[in-house]
Amino acid sequence: MFDPSVWTMLGQGLLESIYMTLVSTALAYLFGLPLGIALVITDKDGIHPKETFNWILGLIINLLRSVPFLILLIMVIPVTRAIVGTIIGTNATIVPLVIAAAPFIARLVESSLKEVDKGVIEAAQSMGASSMQIITRVLLPEARPSLIVGGAIAVTTILSYSALAGFVAGGGLGDIAIRYGYHRYQTDVMLITVVMLVVIVQVLQEMGTRLARLGDKRK
């Protein structure tokens, strides 16, 4: 159907998309996970209530989340240039992806951790567990299934953001879709990229759901 070079390009785009998504997800969790934990423990019902801190943190997270991703992409260009040295290509796209996804992940983690029964936390406290021990041995392990489900949501969302990043020449399948489908009117290439994206989303989502169910001992 296509020139082999188109297939090579699509394959390359696929790999780039996967690379951006995975690296961005990992980096976004590096920031989002601690932020989510901080939101939960400093909540007024948390193990270390700090209402003002909690309020400010919540505000910053909401502000970041309310900026549309396309605008964020452009806004963080100076930051990207400072960190990566360029504003084009997959590595450059990772910067806005991480900035956009971290607050989103913080909220996902927050909602997962809040599902942990308060009684279990109280039981751990009654045994003399420190706050750190409660986080690492109670909150995170007890919320594991929900965190995995959240992880699947995060990774698929980041994948679709990474496709959007094609607008600013960020590499990956989105980049190809824009160049061929929009600038050159080659809709067939664009369609293929869409199909590929749909398949990756399906696979990731299914993996996440299964992993969560497999590891859940509640039923």
Binding site: D117, V120, S126, G128, R137, V138
Partner: protein, 337 residues
């Protein structure tokens, strides 16, 4: 021994800030819990029982007064020291509060992990405890696969893992059916006897107290209304709060006009035998039983019976004498007639 209680609660108060001003959840609580006893704390819902038990291990910091655990004032401890002290106070809960993503074995190991005990030793100890609570066959099961009673036994094993001196039980049987409740109570009694652990039992059910406690405190509207041995409180409740708990049915008695009534109090000095029936046979006169609430504790009778005496004054007088002769406290009451 009583001058060195395991837990001493001194002038303890707890204020919660509420929407309409401060709310005293606990006020002026003074209690000594003796080494090795099973101490009950009973009260109606909202009386402050859970708050009190949470103050004992400082999960809730009292706003007034303090708690001494084994002679140590808990209010002066640093966080780390408090963590350490909590390891000598096990706690179990109404909702069991097990870690749902861990096996039974791993749940029992949990407090040992917290205490920094070597994994191999922890597993060994956990297995001992599972044998103690008779759950060896569930070692590798998950809590969701267990019944309520089994879950509570896991919770008990877990609470005992660090060899605590005290076991705090907050409504530990309230989510269980009567038969399972009995099983758990017997286990607690057995643990108290075998390991000599002091047990503090919080409940709103009198039968839990009568089943296992040596002494009991009645908490009513944030205050201690009465403290005493279970026998004392059962036979001669002094306060209205205590009477409500001991004789909850008394209010519903139909009042009959006309004749003399008397209340017979069983304080454990007579054996559990049919005294009234014996008297009826001896006198060949019937009496009307208006109210009876007696309990057989270790073969001794506790509680009270209110009877309506026969019309004949002489026989009525002689019946009272007869009962007093049986070592019972008898008082004439007007309330019923």
């Amino acid at each position: 021994m009583s001058d060195n209680p395991i837990i001493r609660i001194e002038n303890l108060g707890k204020i919660f800030p509420g929407p309409d001003g401060e709310f005293y959840a606990l006020e002026d609580i003074n209690l000594d819990i003796r080494r090795g006893e099973i101490f009950g704390i009973i009260g109606m819902s909202g009386a402050g029982k859970s708050t009190l038990v949470r103050c004992i291990n400082f999960l809730e910091r009292p706003t007034e007064g303090t708690v001494y655990f084994d002679g140590q004032d808990l209010s002066v401890l640093t966080k780390k020291e408090l963590y350490k002290v909590r390891q000598s106070m096990g706690m179990i809960f109404q909702q069991f509060n097990l870690l749902m993503q861990r096996t039974v074995l791993s749940n029992v190991c949990f407090p040992l992990e917290i205490a920094g005990i070597d994994k191999k030793k922890a597993v060994e100890r956990a297995k001992e405890l599972l044998a103690l609570v008779d759950l060896t066959d569930k070692t590798y099961a998950y809590p969701s696969q267990l019944s309520g009673g089994q879950r509570q036994r896991v919770a008990i094993a877990r609470a005992l893992a660090t060899n605590p001196k005290v076991l705090l039980c907050d409504e530990a049987t309230s989510a269980l059916d009567p038969a399972t409740t009995r099983g758990v109570l017997m286990l607690l009694k057995d643990i108290n006897k075998r390991l000599g652990i002091t047990i503090v039992v919080i409940t709103h059910e009198m039968r839990v107290i009568e089943e296992i406690c040596n002494r009991v405190a009645i908490i009513d509207k944030s205050r201690i209304a009465e403290v005493g041995s279970v026998e004392e409180i059962f036979t001669r409740p002094r306060t209205a709060a205590a009477k409500r708990l001991v004789f909850p049915e008394e209010h519903s008695i139909e009042i009959l006009p006309g004749r003399r009534c008397c209340r017979i109090v069983f304080d454990g000095s007579s054996s559990f035998e049919p005294i009234i029936a014996g008297m009826v046979l001896d006198f060949r006169q019937v009496v009307n039983i208006l109210f009876a609430d007696t309990k057989n504790i270790d073969g001794k009778a506790f509680g009270q019976i209110v009877i309506q005496l026969p019309d004949n004054e002489l026989i009525a007088d002689r019946m009272i004498e007869y009962l007093r002769g049986k070592n019972l406290t008898v008082e004439e009451v007007d309330g019923y007639v």
